[in-house]
């Protein structure tokens, strides 16, 4: 029997969730307070889960490595959050949102999950509004929407370019209210270092107190991971620097299958690398492509300043290749096209690894004022970093690692293959297939936490009401804690010469070169060898200063990089296994004559879920077939 039971309810698409909900078990209020739930993460996925579970009366413990829940990486989301409200009367609907996500994901996501995400999206907006999230409004007092990510309707709710911050402040305030009420206890500055499994069920975690270094045991009846994405595997990415894969990876090692690890979205518009100490790539919202035109000089290595290059010597390559969508093609298409030009020698800037995003024509047409008022804060951000004003000189942009569609495999109840271990938000794989549409992650994280997980976890816990509080002095906790301590000791005892950051940079380069925007068999095989070699070097030559019993940021980084090596190999293996191109995953061997991605539905219409088989062992692939009952598979064309 396959390990994978997706538990997708049958029946018509529109009724699935309603029908499923009706069949889920309940727990009475008196019993809820006797049940403990651990939530790791306080981004939109974690905060929403924790506050709602607290409101329901469960005893919730929340963990994050930041000092305050308000700083989780969700805070950085810029563009917006989608919902199928149809407030603009442009004939939007739950079905259309569902369809755009399924198509945008290149038909590699589950219909039922995506439909449900679209279905609860409206409730999410209602809740955030009630919490006081200041979405942009029209003069009549109603909420404004904009079009985002190249879709044909305006369904994106936004708060200037700071939607993530505003939603997180709202979610954090609801969490805060539960902390005051005593239903939620917050444990900030904690790093989850392992999951404790007792009799096959997730029953707790081992954490490190990042201030004192103390290793702690925490138990619960169920554990929820809301630990975000792993785009930082590329070292340089648009994510917050401390974002990492360790929580999901530990869960994987303990038995949770990891799905589609190689599905990584590379965002086309980030500010390019400027210096060798660069630590982060800053995203420039894709809304800029509504007015900016992307180009490179027709002459390779053209030494002239961009404004000195006449119109006929500019190659507006997106408009040339994709006349129907032009500059608004989806992220993966835009990213690959930029890489193609730069690899061919037409890139601009000191490194040749960037392209122009030019507002000259939009300024001419609409006036400086209008453009400034639309993009002022982004332009300021760009100017602070580059020292140039996009109003005078075209911006320079280049793709950067941004979002991981892959993640822990979960069933329709958001439960991983470890009973009692749930995964929400970016840490699971469930709703975005092979490519995520703009503004749909905040929506999914919040929907998972406010309106899906609370129901499904209750169903799971209904069988646990007789289980007393889980004790932490049992052998499973002792053993897991001993393993954690052993590993820390190992990291500290290597005493080599190279820092964790330096290893991370080197790994990131391998990942970017061979498992980034474009992949091929030879490169992936080479990457697997290179990663293995580098990993061996890491365990021989790593240098970590300080001790384990103090605040030690080098030790934190070292542990995360060690996990990135293991995950990196799985990414390459997954990419190697999937011989088709789909969404963000582009295999050079599988392209059309004009260089577009070529899907292979006959052979690859499945979720690749990998099982950890032990140190040094090959992971085992499990396939979850994707059935499309309600939409017709199509070629994604933007010509």
């Amino acid at each position: 029997m396959s390990k994978l039971n997706s538990k997708i309810p049958d029946g018509p698409l529109v009724d699935k969730w309603t029908k499923h909900k009706t069949a889920l078990k309940l727990v009475n209020p008196a019993n809820k307070s006797k049940l403990d739930i651990i939530v790791i993460g306080t981004g939109l996925g974690g905060s929403s889960s924790a506050s709602t579970l607290g409101e329901l009366g469960y005893n919730v413990k929340v963990f994050s490595y930041q000092d305050s829940p308000r700083r989780a990486h969700s805070v950085a989301a810029q563009g917006g959050i989608n919902a199928a409200k149809n407030y603009k009367n442009d004939n939007d609907s739950i079905y259309r949102l569902f369809y755009d996500m399924i198509k945008g994901g290149d038909f590699r996501a589950r219909e039922a999950n995506v439909y449900r995400a679209a279905e609860v999206s409206n409730l999410v907006i209602d809740h955030y509004t009630a919490l006081g999230v200041p979405f942009a409004r029209d003069y009549g007092g109603t909420i404004d929407n904009r079009s985002f990510g190249g879709v044909q309707v305006s369904r994106t709710f936004y708060a200037k370019g700071q939607t993530g911050q505003q939603c997180l402040v709202g979610a954090y305030s609801a969490l805060t209210r539960q902390i005051k009420a005593g239903t939620v206890t917050m444990y900030p500055r904690r790093d989850l270092l392992d999951i404790v499994v007792v009799d096959g069920k997730a029953r707790g975690i081992i954490t490190r107190n990042l201030v004192t270094g103390e290793i702690e045991r925490h138990s619960a009846h169920a554990v929820v991971l809301a630990t975000g994405g792993y785009g930082t595997i590329y070292y340089l990415s648009t994510l917050a620097l401390n974002s990492n894969a360790s929580a999901a990876w530990k869960a994987h090692r303990k038995g949770a299958l990891f799905a589609n690890p190689s599905f990584v979205q590379i965002h086309p518009t980030s500010i390019p690398v400027m210096n060798s100490y660069q630590s982060k790539l800053t995203l420039m919202s894709e809304s800029l492509r509504n007015d900016g035109r992307v180009w490179v000089p027709k002459q390779a290595k053209d030494p002239r300043k961009p404004n000195d290059i006449p119109e006929e010597e500019r190659d507006y390559y997106l408009e040339r290749r994709y006349p129907a969508f032009g500059n608004l093609v989806p992220r993966d298409v835009a990213s690959r096209a930029a890489k193609e030009r730069c690899d061919a020698g037409f890139g601009v800037g000191p490194t040749g690894l960037s392209v122009y995003l030019d507002f000259r024509d939009a300024i001419k047409k609409k006036g400086k004022k209008v453009i400034e008022s639309s993009y002022g804060n982004l332009f300021d951000m760009y100017e602070k970093i580059s020292g140039e004003s996009p109003l005078e000189t075209p911006m320079r942009i280049y793709p950067a690692g941004h979002y991981t569609m892959g993640g822990l495999w979960v069933d329709y109840n958001l439960m991983t293959t470890i009973p009692g271990l749930f995964a929400v938000g970016e840490s699971n794989f469930s709703d975005h297939g092979a490519n995520r549409l703009g503004a749909s992650s905040l929506m999914q994280c919040s929907g998972d936490g406010y309106f899906i997980l609370p129901y499904t976890i209750t169903d799971y816990l209904a069988d646990d009401i007789k289980t007393p509080r889980i004790q932490t002095n049992i052998p499973e906790f002792e053993k897991t804690e001993a393993d954690v301590k052993e590993r820390i000791k190992r990291l500290l005892s290597i005493n080599g010469k190279e820092t964790a950051t330096s290893f991370h940079k080197r790994l990131g380069k391998i990942m970017w070169d061979y498992c980034g925007m474009v992949r091929n068999e030879e490169g992936l095989k080479k990457a697997l060898v290179l990663i293995k070699e580098l990993e061996e070097e890491f365990w021989k030559n790593l240098k970590v200063t300080g001790t384990d019993s103090e605040l030690n940021q080098e030790l934190e980084k070292a542990g995360r990089v060690a996990d990135f090596f293991e995950l990196g190999k799985l990414l390459c293996m997954d990419a190697l296994n999937r011989k088709e191109s789909c969404g963000a995953h582009f295999r050079e061997e599988s392209q059309t004559e004009t260089g577009e991605a070529k899907r292979d539905d006959d052979n690859y219409s499945f979720v690749a879920a990998w099982e950890f088989k032990g140190e040094g062992q090959e992971p085992e692939l499990h396939k979850e077939e994707l059935k499309f009952e309600f939409v017709k598979l199509q070629e994604r064309s933007y010509k």
Binding site: R71, P134, N275, M381, K543
Partner: protein, 247 residues
């Protein structure tokens, strides 16, 4: 460029700290301030010394993690800029730059440049929210909000919780931080039902946690990276006054 750094080093909360001087050569003007510190740390580790601990995460001015005194000013010399957004372009060859943690009794130092800011979370817990459970909300458009109010609420809600206002204030007052939250929520109809309670409990909590009172020196506004206006404090005072009157 070549610079000299004078950095506060303190191994933990209990130990005493002191300034250490580090010359640093070949700093590129394209580096961010934090990348410059990464560069310093890399050198320190190579020499077998402990790197400088500092807090950071997003490195794009939105999470509020970073925060330090740079040459006497919270978040450094550039107006409306967080430490992570600051670039080395703002400095010149030969500069001596002093770097130290926030100084406020409500924000004790944990290590080097890292301080404990959980007092801000405690203030928020005392009342910085609208009490509504998931699932209880009505359709978003059934609550009409004047555009002007929504825009002003947004401006107040952009507060990062970074603590620069407290660090800048000679009384270590958290007034701007609280005022930003009170103003944000007071501008919405759905925030009204508990507005009086909110302002009273938040102000009381601030006093209890050891933050000082506000004497209107406006240092907070000048150093706030998000440009939160002092008019928020006027609004808070009004709200507070009304709440007290109704007692």
């Amino acid at each position: 460029m070549n610079i000299k750094l004078k950095i506060w080093r303190q191994p933990d909360a209990k130990s005493n700290g002191r300034f250490e001087t580090y010359p640093l050569n070949d700093v590129s003007s394209d580096m961010s301030f934090l990348e410059m510190l990464d560069y310093l740390n890399n050198n320190l580790i190579k020499e077998g010394q402990q790197p400088v601990a500092f807090e950071h995460d997003c490195r794009e001015g939105i999470c509020g993690s970073c925060g330090m005194y740079i040459s006497g000013r919270p978040h450094g010399p550039q107006h409306k800029t967080t430490t992570c957004e600051l670039r080395m372009r703002e400095f010149k060859d030969g500069d001596t730059i002093t770097v130290e943690p926030w100084r406020a009794s409500a924000f004790p130092v944990i290590k080097d440049l890292i301080v404990e800011r959980s007092a801000f979370d405690k203030i928020m817990q005392s009342g910085g929210f609208i009490s509504v459970n998931a699932g209880a909300a009505q359709d978003a458009n059934s609550i009409l909000v004047k555009k002007k109010n929504a825009d002003e609420a947004f401006d107040s809600a952009t507060c990062l919780g970074c603590g620069a206002c407290v660090a800048a204030c000679k009384n270590s007052s958290a007034m701007l931080f609280i005022a930003a939250k009170v103003t944000h929520l007071a501008l919405f109809p759905q925030g009204q039902t508990e507005a009086e309670l909110r302002v009273k409990t938040m102000v009381a909590k601030m006093d209890e946690l050891g933050f000082g009172g506000c004497t209107n020196t406006r240092a907070c506004e000048a150093e706030c990276p998000k440009g939160i206006s002092i008019s928020n404090i006027a609004k808070l005072n009004r709200e507070f006054f009304v709440a007290k009157l109704k007692e």
